[in-house]
Amino acid sequence: MAELPESNPQPPRSNARVIGWCLVGVVGMFAFGFALVPLYNVFCEITGINGKTGGRYEASEAMQTDLNRTVEVQFIAQNGPEMPWVFRPMVHSIKVHPGEPTQVAFYAENPTGAAMVAQAIPSLAPSEGTLYFHKTECFCFNRQALAAGEITEMPLVFIVDTALPEHITKLTLSYTLYDQGEPETVSAVTSERATTTSTNNG
């Protein structure tokens, strides 16, 4: 209301100006709605609050293994809607020391008569631990293609950070496996999706 001082007996009479400012507001807020998408993703990446673990971890210097502490890591695997693959962790739970690289594997089988491509999406609970769970190798970094009837074991190498808050003694990593169609069509879908979505599916 700053431009309407009470001492001014004649308020501004230009409708065009008011419409102009309102339209700036409308367009700006429409853009803001879309800007919420990257803002949300960046915010979640920094804080880890939606449980999405990050991409490949590159250690600047080797982490000291903390032998005095043991953390239990549990693994869960599930299929997305209409996903026919058999998908499960080879070990369901493992005890690790923070700082120590650990390798586990997930079993995947394509029981259908056609080649298929899948993408695994991770989620960690409690989300507070997300920033302290590093993956140096993960099948979820890439799409997985399996021929008809093919079976595979997919590796995951991870390090629990020594800075993991004291009160967290157990982490649960869950993967959901989504059908991404047949191998040929994948590239088209990928390029389309890549333009609008974040890349932090780790």
Binding site: G33, T47, N50, G51, T197
Partner: protein, 527 residues
């Protein structure tokens, strides 16, 4: 065409055109206001009919009347029609009628756009209602249309729903621009900002809220449209998106939206209570600042709708305290209304009855809102009938009683006749009893654990549900009486003087009743 040019000199003084073209092409704020109000009432009856279907199914446990799929379409369409079709257009109608007369302007600032913003609405709702007859049925995912329910699992008609929301959004935005331009540019000389009547103030702030959040709503439905039809993954986890993002964007719109539905009612009640208490409004400036504070705070509380989706502790605390903070300016308003009535020479004509009920019952809704705002407690209340009770207490005796109070208050000015007072009082008491019977038991149902949006329920909820349904039928049927009262008042009745209410103040009462087709062609002087 030549006729128009010939009579141009008299153009400002002639009456309305004849026939249907009067309504199609009109740019007169009174005509457009009337059309908004009629449209809104039609939508109120349509949405109300759907509510009757819902309450009939819930009258007894078990599935009796409709299929669960259709039940879900009814809850969704009821919510959408009431919010976007009944409450919002009713307030735009009141704004059209009253704003120019309250600020001494000849018309709205942008009359042609005004015609457009009205006529878009019937188009939008024609599309929305037609989804009921499409293959796969109408939207069934609730008025909040959470993804992935509305994207991955929605019916084929979802695209039409999105289109309808886009059109309503454009209509609301155009309406808001018009209100802002009118209020900023067309006030009579001498009417400074702090002399504006409160209905004008609350509408100015509502219009800013509309401009700020309707584009966000348009954005979120556009993202849905792209997810459904163009293979993007805004809300699809498989493609790297996140369904929780949907809730953030939706509620960033959704919470200010609930204030869009209540602020104009705050304004109207701030005219009605002083008129019938025969005392000036207590604390005018604090009322203005309170509305401003509510509007600003409404942008930073949205996650109180999402306490249970996994917000981190710091977030829960922030949104809990921010939400509770809104109770402070809201409380200021309630205290000011009560202080206005205190030691006033009060009489209880229909507008005042609705306004007093507004203050009392809206406050109950505010208190249940405070209970819901307590994050740890919300884990129990969320998605139960307690939430349904809360928002019906703020919307029915809040927004809708505010609209009824305004209608009775200004009907004499609009029609030139007094409405039938004893029928109007009957309308009030039946609405009051019906509405409390319908919605009060829902608090208990929710606390006992009855989930919302279900067509069947466990046996222990049976009695309260039956009471609730009886109340709902009573409230619903009573609204036909309102239709009758208004028609009766339009067609005749005791002649209304220019100022039918002894204590009323404002420029609109300086005009004769009924208000002439063109008013304030020369602006009045405000001292």
């Amino acid at each position: 065409m030549s006729a128009v040019i010939d009579t141009h000199a008299q153009d400002h003084h002639h009456g309305p055109a004849k026939g249907i073209t009067r309504w199609l092409y009109t740019t007169n704020h009174k005509d457009i206001g009337t059309m908004y109000l009629v449209f809104s009432f039609a939508m109120f009856l349509l949405g109300g009919t759907m509510a009757m279907v819902i309450r009939a199914e819930l009258f007894q446990p078990g599935l009796q009347i409709v299929e669960p799929e259709f039940f879900n379409q009814m809850t969704t369409m009821h919510g959408l029609i009431m919010v976007f079709g009944a409450v919002m257009p009713a307030f735009v109608g009141l704004a059209n009628w009253m704003l120019p007369m309250m600020i001494g302007a000849p018309d709205m600032a942008l009359p042609r756009m005004n015609n457009w913003s009205f006529w878009l609405l019937p188009c939008a709702f024609l599309i929305l209602v037609s989804t009921l007859f499409m293959a796969g049925g109408a939207p069934n995912f609730g008025w909040t249309f959470y993804a992935p329910l509305s994207t991955t699992y929605g019916p084929p008609s979802t695209t039409f729903f999105i289109f309808a929301v886009h059109i309503m959004g454009i209509s609301s935005i155009m309406g808001a621009i018009n209100v802002i331009a009118t209020i900023l540019n067309l006030r009579a000389p001498g009417m400074t900002m702090m002399k504006m009547p409160l209905f004008v103030w609350t509408w100015l702030i509502t219009a800013f809220l509309l401009i700020a959040v309707m584009p966000v709503l348009a954005g979120v439905v556009t993202m849905m449209l792209m997810d459904i039809n163009f293979g993007t993954s805004f809300f699809n986890a498989a493609g790297g998106g996140d369904p929780v993002l949907f809730q953030h964007v939706f509620w960033f719109f959704g919470h200010p939206e609930v204030y869009i539905m209540i602020l104009p009612a705050f304004g109207a009640v701030s005219h009605i209570i002083p008129a019938f208490a025969r005392k000036p409004l207590f604390g005018y400036a604090s009322m203005v600042y309170a509305v401003g504070a509510i509007a600003l705070l409404s942008f930073v509380v949205w996650a109180h709708h999402m306490f249970t989706v996994g917000v981190p502790l710091a977030g829960e605390l922030f949104f809990m305290y921010a939400t509770m903070l809104i109770a402070v300016p809201t409380g200021v308003k309630v205290f000011n209304w009560v202080a206005t009535m205190f030691r006033g020479s009060m009489t209880f004509e229909a507008p005042m009855l609705f306004a007093v009920a507004f203050v009392i019952l809206f406050t109950i809704g505010g208190f249940s809102g405070l209970m819901l705002a307590i994050a740890p407690a919300d884990f129990q209340y969320h998605d139960t009938y307690f939430v349904v009770a809360h928002f019906h207490y703020v919307l029915v005796p809040g927004a809708i009683f505010g609209i009824f109070a305004s209608a009775y208050f200004w009907l004499p000015k609009w029609t030139g006749h007094m409405y039938d007072e004893s029928l109007a009082k009957t309308h009030f008491w039946l609405s009051f009893v019906g509405m409390n019977l319908a919605f009060f038991p829902m608090h208990f149902l929710g606390l006992a654990g009855m989930p919302r949006r279900i067509p069947d329920y466990a046996l222990q909820f049976a009695d309260f549900n039956m009471v609730s349904s009886i109340g709902a039928f009573m409230f619903g049927a009573t609204q036909l009486l309102f239709l009758f009262i208004v028609i009766k008042c339009v067609r005749g009745g005791e002649k209304a003087p220019a100022k039918p209410w002894e204590g009323a103040e404002g420029l609109e009462w300086t005009l004769p009743s009924p208000a002439p087709y063109h008013t304030f062609s020369t602006p009045p002087e405000v001292k």
